[in-house]
Amino acid sequence: MIRFVIKVCLFFLPFIVILGSVILLDPFKVWFEYEDYYKEEVISTNRENVCLKLFEKGYTKYKFNSFILGSSRSQAFKTREWSKYLDSTSRPFHFDASGEGIYGIKNKLEYLDRIGNQIDNVLIIVDENTLITNYNRKGHLFISPPTLSGESNIEFHKSFFKTCLNPKFIYAYIDYKLTKKEKPYMGFLFNNMNCTVNYNGDVFYNRYDYSIRSDSLSYYKDLTSKGVFYQRKNERKDIYSMISEIEEHQLKVIYRILKKHNTKYKIVVSPLYDQRPLNIERVNLLNKLFGKENVFDFSGSNQYTESVGNFYESSHYRPHVANEIMKIVYN
């Protein structure tokens, strides 16, 4: 019996050592607090968790009361530009998440409401993916922190352990730590966009901006030849992803909170490279819940989605597009 227990303990010992190392090294910056989450490291972090930490660090000092919500696509909308359309008492914060859905947007508004934070202005950036993501996603980059989701702390941290125990990650991490060189095989676990973040939560994709500024022709030619900017088909999706009860419920919760705080809000449907218009049922639902005067649909084929120069790649549009959109939205 004792022999059995000892053997089992010895069997699990390597994992305990690895788990302990994972916590100490904290490659995803989850277990400890940091001054700058984007300094030096190139490992992709959970953006929502980082955003939350940034907010928690700064909200008593800066008294944020205006929020840009949405996925990484919302990063085209910079708080400094947005402030021009808000009154002088506004303190904007970019509260986004990777692949954000209305589940996350709802949770953030509920969180702000719960902690008694003012919500004077809100700009919500959506697309079809945002609207159908009405659940807590899996994966260390996407799972929502328990402070926002109200879900299990264990499940949250487990997703990071899982990634850390992935042999591909362990190998790539050790390789990078030793050589300090980013290699192609390191793939999506590593993110060398050379980003900087300000205290408002705006992310600046310095690597992309620099490449475009230096030689935009080569930049876009290269991406086109790699198939990043693919040939587009202008068609509506054959809908089986109908508006679910959960989606409608979450949108209603969002509306209730905005109404409770007398928030001035706008909802923008992003202009995406795929030029697929948001289905009419969703547009109608948004208009019905939030008012036609507050909903602006830039999806489909238009001047913003036509030119590749408006995009960093096929998923994210550039800040100048967002600036043009804000001019329209706030006029």
Binding site: M1, R3, V5, P14, I154, K158, P167, I239, Y240, S241
Partner: protein, 470 residues
């Protein structure tokens, strides 16, 4: 708590150490510990569920005692009827109330009459389908005088609530499991080690095979309108592996955990996807449930005796009930009915016991004829699983409509290939192939890892175990 959770990973060693270190000299205290641990395990989902299982335990314990003492046949039937009525009543209320209500309302609306059904917000207690059947088997066996009732309430409670098999089976017979609660349990090193191997394999099936295949199946089934042709078949095959990985994985973990405590549970899955015909499939799939229906429904109805119509009736009853047991939806009933249609021809021409020998015994590979039989049986089960997975009968029709429309086009093959390459990935495909090979090699054993590598060098064994674990 679920088996593949950190909660269970902490719970199990604590119970294990208490069981073998502090209570090893007392069967009674070990049984008490099992009851307490099982109630903690079950209450972890929702403490309110504990009242139900306690109530069910209490009723059947006293019914069992009454059945022994009672001489009058009429009163014995009443006592048995009470147990069956209460257990099935609980099951029907929690699992099927809203289904029956919706079906009732829909049937009237078909004729243009709108009824206002009072839909209840009922939480389904986890495992209720399993433990109600388990306790009913006890009272039925006592009624038939196949089993003496126990006067030990603690042992009986431990039998009903035994945490390894409480929420997902196997559905144990009292004649197998209950006596083990009266025997002195001595720690058996080899049994415990083999139990751990079985747990490891069960976790692999659940976490690696089932969870990964679930993502693919969900993607396709939740967006059926976005896919067509052969891509839909990939979804159906993914679900086929998902459900096997989930179900048999849980059973393996349950059996493995039981062995850590010195208990032997029945084998619940015997590599059903290697079956050569549907009859064999049903001797290998969810054995505890299919034998339950055979012994307590099919045989009392007359079984295979009597005229052909009676046999057809009996077959349909058990398969439809089996389908219905799985869930409150017409799709499950349709799935059961389809399996009845598969099974009947074999039974009616007396070929249902054609393949009772071990598959390819003494050979590494199946013969060509065997292989084609296995493929055909597998295809039939994949087809049937579409009904099981679909959300409604409309969804089933949409699925097959899009499949038939899609296969006419060459692009369907390309789409399916692209889906496999980009969405599934070569790693998962390789893992599934390795999984099938390991299952094939271990097909004659109680579980696939029982004898694999046992005689090999310790280094190879541990590399294999760590690989599985990672």
């Amino acid at each position: 708590m679920i088996f593949n959770s950190i909660d269970f990973a902490l719970f199990l060693p604590i119970v294990f150490l208490l069981y073998w270190f502090f209570f090893k000299n007392s069967i009674r205290f070990q049984n008490i510990l099992i009851v307490v641990a099982s109630y903690v395990f079950y209450g972890w989902w929702d403490w309110r569920f504990l009242f139900l299982i306690f109530f069910s335990t209490l009723v059947d314990f006293f019914v069992g005692l009454k059945l022994k003492d009672e001489k009058s046949n009429r009163r014995r039937i009443i006592f048995l009827g009470t147990s069956v009525f209460i257990n099935l009543g609980l099951l029907f209320f929690f699992k099927y109330y809203n289904f029956f209500l919706d079906s009732f309302v829909s049937s009237f609306s078909f004729f243009g009459v709108q009824l206002n059904g009072n839909h209840l917000n009922i939480i389904l207690p986890v495992g209720i389908s399993f433990y109600t059947f388990q306790t009913m088997s006890y009272t039925i066996d006592v009624y038939k005088r196949k089993l003496d009732p126990t006067k030990d309430f603690i042992a009986f409670s431990a039998f009903v609530s035994f945490f390894p098999q409480l929420v997902a089976g196997p559905i144990e017979r009292a004649s197998n499991l209950l006596p083990q609660f009266f025997e002195k349990r001595k720690f058996d090193y080899n049994k415990a080690v083999d139990g751990l191997r079985q747990i490891l394999w069960g976790l692999f099936k659940k976490v690696v095979i089932a969870d990964n295949c679930a993502e693919i199946a969900n993607q396709i089934f939740n967006n059926t309108g976005d896919y067509s042709g052969f891509t839909l078949i990939i979804g159906a095959i993914a679900f086929t592996f998902q459900i096997y990985g989930d179900f048999s994985g849980y059973s393996d973990i349950a059996i493995g955990v039981s062995r850590l405590f010195g208990f032997d549970l029945m084998q619940n899955f015997k590599n059903p996807y290697f079956s050569r015909d549907i009859a064999e499939f049903w001797r290998r799939w969810h054995i505890s449930l299919s034998t339950w229906f055979r012994d307590y429904v099919y045989i009392p109805l007359g079984g295979s005796r009597g005229n052909k119509w009676k046999i057809v009736r009996n077959i349909f009853i058990i398969f439809l009930l089996s389908g219905f047991w799985h869930g409150a939806n017409w799709t499950f009933i349709a799935w059961g009915g389809l399996n009845a249609l598969y099974f009947l021809p074999l039974l009616l021409v007396s070929k249902n016991r054609k393949n009772i020998d071990e598959i390819s015994y003494g050979r590494n590979l199946p013969k060509f004829r065997e292989f084609t039989s296995i493929l055909l049986t597998f295809s039939l089960t994949v087809f049937a699983w579409v009904f099981f997975r679909a959300e409604s009968m409309n969804h089933v029709f949409l699925f097959f409509k899009r499949f038939l429309n899609g296969i006419q086009f060459k692009s369907s093959y390309i789409d399916a290939y692209n889906f496999m390459y980009w969405e599934i990935g070569i790693e998962l495909i390789l893992i599934i192939i390795v999984f099938i090979i390991i299952e094939w090699i271990g097909r004659h054993n109680k579980h696939s890892l029982e004898k694999i590598l046992v005689n090999q060098n310790k280094v190879y064994r541990y590399i294999f175990y760590y690989f599985n674990y990672i």
